[in-house]
Amino acid sequence: MSPSVPLQEMIRAIRSARTQCEERGVIQRECAAIRAQFRQADNGGRSHNLAKLLYVHMLGYPAHFGQMECVRMIASPRYSEKRVGYLGAMMLLDEKQDASLLITNSIKNDLAHSNQYVQSLALCTLACMGSAEMCRDLAPEIDRLLRASNSYIKKKAALCAVHIVRKVHELGELFAPAARSLLSEKNHGVLHGAVVLIIELCERNPETLERFRKTVPDLVQIMKGLVLSGYSPEHDVAGISDPFLQVRILRLLRILGRNNEGASDAMNDLLAQVATNTDSTKTVGNAVLYETVLTVLDIKSESGLRVLAVNILGRFLLNNDRNIRYIAMTSLQKIVGTDHNAVQRHRGTIVDCLKDQDASVKRRALELSLALVSASNIRSMMKELLLFLSSCPPELRAHAASGIFNAAERRVTPRRHTNVHVHLARAGGDVRDETVPNLIQLITNASELHCYTVHKLYRALLADISQQSLVQVACWCIGEYGDLLLRGDCQETEPVQVTEDDALDALETVLQSHMSSPATRGFALTATMKLSTRITDNVDRIRSIVSIYGSCIDVELQQRAVEYNALFKKYDHMRYAMKKSTCPTLQPSPAFGGTAPGPSVNTAGGDLLDLLGGLELTPLAPADPVPVYDKGGVTLTLSCEKQSDTGLTVTLTASNATDSDISSFTLQAAVPKVGLPLPPADASLLTMVVLNNPNKVNLKMRVRVSYTRLGSAFQDTVQIDSFPGLDAAGR
């Protein structure tokens, strides 16, 4: 009867359960039986019970009640029981549990056992879950085994020593001499373990690293033996002698040669030999070649060798095997900082990998492409990256968007920047939250692009209203630059006629769509309101839209709608002031002799009535207008109303009495050393200017009128010394 028949019977029983519930029942019964067996004294089948428990543990059921049984089994003299006991200890125990302390003594005894397989069990367990105390306790024993035992034990002791050094760093000193002497072993398993140990020691302690540099010639000798020796049936894997050992030695050489001329020189020839002689048609050959390339690029190798290495990577990139391409890109990523130009040469292949079906390859290609973006290739790279973004898998989208954003921020012209941001906004919810305000800021600053931007965003809005960031920015732009949109002509995109109804339709669609978030609706409502100052025919429609939202269930929207309604009803004349008050920034105009301490305004969606809070809200009674300028058919009349003791509103009205159109009409007004008005309007016939005269100085105003008529430009200046509604002293 084979030792594990009871185990197999249980497994059969579990597998025959048809439902999860049935399985749970079977397992519960078995566990109860096992628990009962544990409580009994020694019977012949103890190892079976623990094996069953481990199987149950693998399926995910609780098995902690087996911990003490593991301790007992490890202490048993029988090999079969020790074996399962140690396996159980590795699966169920870890250093945090109290039971693990109890096995320290057993391990100690077993390390000195006459049977090497018992020794190996103890070594294995110590290497897996040995705590720091256990390691300190048993380190001398391990050192002894490293020096005087057979190769089977030596290789296990070497890896156990690695674990000890990881847990208790100071013990590295203890193992260094033994590790050094292990390098002269012939057995490949021992050599491999020794190299792993030396790597660990060197990575932990720079002094040890210095000492082990002296071993470079020995390591080179070993490698030469592996590479140049004839066919050795014992170690051959697809024509290469022990590729695992070669890879491990190459890694150690890399660590020893880093930042050290002498060591790097000593290994130069060897690396060149390996790079040229290794057969790259099989995976094992590629593993060795790959490790060689990484070593060459990391040490102070001569330039010829470096070029050879990068070329090998280039060949890897073109390999049909996706694994090879993947690791080629991983290694190129490591050197893109130092050998940037060399990697740039392969940019075409890397960008092609963006289109690969494999998600891992795509991820590598994305990382590398972002690292390769530079001033000279920005245009083509951006195009490729944006194309990638539109079709990339969802888990990569956020990373790609952020990467593109960063790359664009550093290097791109404003127009391209805008395009990039529109694409990013389209990428939707995956982009960072700062995109919307960033984009709005960007658009505002690029004043020459306002027309282009609003057209582009309008079109994007018509195409898709599901991406919230895009919709928000589009609504804001339509509200802000609606006049540019309605004007229709734009040099940079194809002209399209957008009527007021079209614009309002778009905004209304956003307002009513179930896909719009409340924030987006807020943007749309504000934009609709702003349009009321920029359009002429559909104000009633806007009024009705706004009033509907006065009873909206969303509190934020309701508040906005009610405020806007109020503006319509009571403060209709103020609405026009909104047109200019909602500029995000107020630029000081150089035409004035000073700076404008106008009300500072925040971006889209702010509470509008706050903006007007600086102004007096007493209704204006228009005084009689006084003509101040009359020439060539263009007249300018002035009327002013006192707002307060120190505040004065001056209204200039211009009219065209000629029979031809006047275009590019501008009014510029300057006053001496008083609170200055808002910036002047462009081409509007009504300008409201608020003057603050706290010092009650003599008020004078100089107005410059300029316009184009019948193709010729006119300009004139008029000084106004007396203001109707004020006495001669300007009070």
Binding site: S80, G189, Y326
Partner: protein
Amino acid sequence: MIKAILIFNNHGKPRLIRFYQYFAEDLQQQIIRETFHLVSKRDDNVCNFLEGGSLIGGSDYKLIYRHYATLYFVFCVDSSESELGILDLIQVFVETLDKCFENVCELDLIFHMDKVHYILQEVVMGGMVLETNMNEIVAQVEVQTRMEKSEVKLSRPSG
């Protein structure tokens, strides 16, 4: 360092799990489910390396896997191991299983879970690669199996 070795079938049922770093039991099961979810999505002709899988560690860790018939062999490793080397190691491990069980199939792994663990112990120890020579591994496993069998014979009363 190898952080974990997982073998599960095409439906995600675990056939062998070995963690070289301590994880609580429910976390272990979560890791298995997540790994299966990631690996099963992959086509057959894509590369064998996977990144991602938040539970099993930081950005330094990758999943290297191979798909044989109905089983996935997944090794979770960090950057100190050569990716292609691990891929070859999986191959060595599977060939060793093949030799030990004579044309190994999933049922062998199911019913002899403990034996598979003992074989694995000769290949990977404490999260580090121990032996890569298939013949050596098989020889050692056979000696130990014989030892265990002889002990059972001794303990049974003769006759």
